[in-house]
Subunit: 348 residues, 4 copies
């Protein structure tokens, strides 16, 4: 940390700041410029909150030198983390493609979609059994019944199951059925939930909050990682801006930035990132070209009848086309993408 | 709801949309313009998701006519809701002034501040026993011990206690000690928590999420109200924007907007809304002039030593000055503000 | 400026950075922490762009120590700047109230409004003769004819005239008629225009761009000030955010922040800041309570017939009520507000 | 347009709104729902401002049915517009690659970069002779001298020249030297400049303002198109958000959205869109995969010495690598990309 004193700071104010820093167990390094005295904080002491120093008399600003996340950082773990998801590996050469409906709406519906997305080349199945809805009067999901249908779909298709857990009390239940616990955007800073999924040691797909900075997403991951659960996938799903033509603004910059700052795999969610099915394919291909390790896409046989998010869901045939093109882009980028057929073979 | 068809929509596409609307139990009203056919949806049917209609062939846009919240709406409840908070009433003539440290840091610290803010004119005491922190390595609060100290401070000062509950499992515990359950900004869409505080029937201070629209804050309130708990206070605490001079942008527009759209009382939090103690007084007075029913202010004897949020905390003497000015502004606005002395007298 | 090297920066990389800094005429101050070497830049050299240093090998970050504006800064000019506007002084004890229609729509219309706002207590008249419109097909203003009507209104009422100049070529023309040149939000970074109004030596009302940071507003003021034109008033008029209930988000924090960072007067524009007449009064009072030196308010006899911005215009009687309340709030804040009557007397 | 009346609107209020609409030359279509009366506006009348109707008594909301742009719309011109740029065509099969320094810094510098980017596969040269700078104390460009060097570079390399014009008075001068007039982000709503470049009939590269909505970018294009200048290229260059890890947030959604709403070619600027050279390649490939018709990239031989924007400039060898990969992605997308060699051959 670096403390910048005001141009007119007195010797007394400067020595007070130094005393405070030393009282926390740190050393200081003093630099007197023409206008400003600058105090560097050196060493390992107790937690030193930037805000406390910044309220001291004569202090103009306090600047942080390092990112606050540790285990999530690429400095800490220079190699890419690779996380198994069903028969594929996320974070390596292959491209993970997680697809399915927003909500599990019934047994036959989810089984039908599971087969459809598998044939189109998906490597995992998504579907919500517990749904966070803005309105208390909207469909809230089928609950455990939905989880059972997802498990049945996995049995029939071999696809791994990714589903959201909204409540720390339900983590044990969801772990029984799901291969990956999804933490939704609204819950990115629900620390009780982060604690519980961290303790679970189950793989986690952590979605970026709709107004969270990249650094805050990595701090949320740090909560999970600090419980020893290293299988965390980060998910960019669009941020909230002033633009109204799309539901969210997909932050494509976040993909190279997250890969640069962290070793964790990055999954892109263009369905929420755009909110309109017309733009999902373009943004999916963009995410692959930017270096994403996978895609999570909403697919529905009949989007007009979907109980939620129909506006951004693809029909299976459009999804198949998207997968075909995404593989071509991934190959152009030099990735060794496993063909759906080979994929199918491996499972037997 | 109103469906706007594309300029080139076919008769078949139009009749499909009409059929879908009727299948959900609604009537339609057709209007054929020069360019667009427009279909009005009339009556009371099953939940009709705007998104489903918008994916149908030939549909250009689907517009909502009414706000989605009901019990929170001023149409539903034209008079201001008035909620008792200790010896004062929030939402009426008086100005609620909730003050105290960000975190409860120890017994003597909280007792000392409680007396200080009471003397300065506060009507309630705030202080966090459970703290949501961006970093897993930061101070997380004293837990139940902190709640006990808050209760002791109430006994000594007569101030009502407002404290955050972060986890639905802790709602019963926090209810034992607190007069008002605070739901923090990060949890505004934690639906399990909203459900639990709704069931508790305890008064709630609901903070706006840092990137939540005004309508979404009212939908979060609706979750609590829909459990029959009508004692909800809304809290504007700043939103996230591109501005970097301040920690958040306090949305002053939200105060008249919330009073216009809803009957619930509105509390302003200029400490988080600015993030810098230098600007807290100005924005507090602004909030009162804009019609806020109360203020919640961070106060600390020694902000430089605070374990959290020191940067935005006022010293007690500055807080006393703020209260004095806030009362003058409230009086200029025609509010009948109860004097701290009168307030003290009432308690005996 | 402070250069923070990466944890693994080599001695060679460090010495390269030092050499570059010295080559620009500065001295360095070196500080070696446990993880990072930090290099302070000291003295007065040639322009040193933060960005250049930040691309050098081994550099992690480059932090600026001081704000980039100079003449606009309160360090440079600690006392409040006071700027005459008609018969009142802006930036001192009095409250400037600039009012009038969005556009000058005709001779009788502007004369009528001018008398109405003067009676209601306005100290200056606003009205656009040249209108920046998002659509090329919208009403673009009456041009010089509009300026003539404004001048006639001044003659009849004694009110100073504030009007927008959109184009540097029109600065001489507008100076002939107007007392204050308004630079609109869309033109805050139109440097040719800033240069021209700077050269004109005419008082300027500079509106904040809709996505400009506070620092950028002060840098735009610096462009004008650097031409020796010290009569600049800053105007907060709302910023663009994700909120859709209001047209813009009025940044109330900007008022104390601008007063803290700069000596220039600050005017608030709640008409654009909210975009809805229902909220204009509340936000006007808030701005006065936050310390604004004046208000600029859109007033129209018949907002429903206005050629632009009718949605946010007040009728004269509502405006009179607003002025009455604004004076009460200003007095509660300790300002000596000149009564409209006294004001009128002074003119004779 | 559609007018939604309040639930309690009186018959008189409804008939007043209808009278107003008819007075403007339109017909109405009335629809009475259970709660709301809805009035459709039909036909072609005089300009009817949504805001005026929305201020009438009893009106709840006024909704627009169509986008406000016309000539820029794909409804108006369903085929892609194709615009010649040097030897290539922008908007068709080929991928335009515009590269060069932020500023023209000297004769030898620009000639050297021009040759370097041409060899690396660029199809046009960028470079600023007039620079809009936030600070009045920063380097403002070489002016006409810079234009002369750009013209000399074109002669030597055959590359078309793209350069910014900041001031309507300079349009004739810049037209003498440049093949394409760039309108910068800060000037997207400088209507005098849009008018002048429209009149010039010279090809234009129009950059999106940093907080402009997609619709507003298309309205700015409409200003140019309405002067009969149909050769407009749109440029996405990142928008301003709360994220601080990158300088701007590149809005990848804007690429499919602009292609969907308009027939004009879309160019991506990942240099400004990210602000960090480390992320430029990833976001460039993403833009190509999303369907962009071209890229504009900042390249500098020695970014550390650049007089502006060094932080986001690529060295020529990294740029060559980017071009190679961009061609692979474009080919994977099915585009027929002209090889640099073929390109060179065509020129002779």
């Amino acid at each position: 940390m670096i403390v910048i004193m005001q141009p007119n700071a007195s010797a007394r104010q400067i020595s007070d700041v130094i005393a405070r820093i030393r009282a926390m167990g740190y050393e200081v390094h003093l630099s007197e410029g023409e206008a400003h005295t600058i105090i560097g904080v050196i060493g390992q002491g107790r937690t030193l909150d930037r805000e406390n120093l910044s309220t001291m008399d004569g202090v103009q600003d306090v600047l942080r030198v390092t990112h606050p996340f540790k285990i999530a950082s690429r400095y800490y773990h220079p190699e890419d983390s690779i996380i198994p998801l069903g028969t594929s590996l996320v974070g390596g050469q292959d491209l993970a493609i997680i697809a399915g409906p927003c909500s599990v709406e019934g047994r036959s519906e989810i089984l039908e979609i599971a087969h459809a997305v598998r044939e189109a080349g998906a490597t995992a199945l998504r579907g919500g059994a517990f749904k966070p809805r803005t309105s208390p009067y909207s469909f809230q999901g089928l609950g455990e019944e939905g989880l059972q249908y997802l498990a049945e779909a996995r049995e029939q298709t071999g696809l791994a199951v990714v589903t959201e857990v909204m409540d720390q009390n339900l983590v044990p239940l969801v772990c029984q059925y799901a291969d990956v616990l999804q933490v939704g955007a609204r819950n990115m800073q629900n620390y009780s939930l982060l604690h519980a999924v961290g303790e679970s040691q189950h793989p986690v797909l952590l979605k970026r909050g709709m107004s969270s900075r990249i650094e805050e997403l990595l701090m949320a991951a740090e909560y999970i990682l600090s419980h020893g659960n290293m299988r965390v996938m980060l998910c960019e799903r669009g941020i909230r801006t002033f633009e109204t033509e799309t539901r969210n603004t997909f932050d494509i910059n976040a993909i190279p930035a997250l890969k640069h700052l962290s070793h964790l795999p990055v999954i892109a969610d263009p369905s929420h990132g755009t909110g309109k099915w017309e733009y999902v394919e373009s943004v999916s291909l963009a995410a692959v070209a930017a270096g994403a390790d996978g895609l999570i896409i909403e697919v529905h046989q009949d989007p007009e009848q979907a109980l939620s998010d129909g506006r951004q869901s693809l029909k299976p045939e459009r999804f198949a086309e998207l997968v075909r093109k995404a593989r071509l882009v991934a190959q152009a980028m030099g990735r060794q993408v496993v063909e759906p057929a080979a994929n199918a073979a491996k499972e037997r």
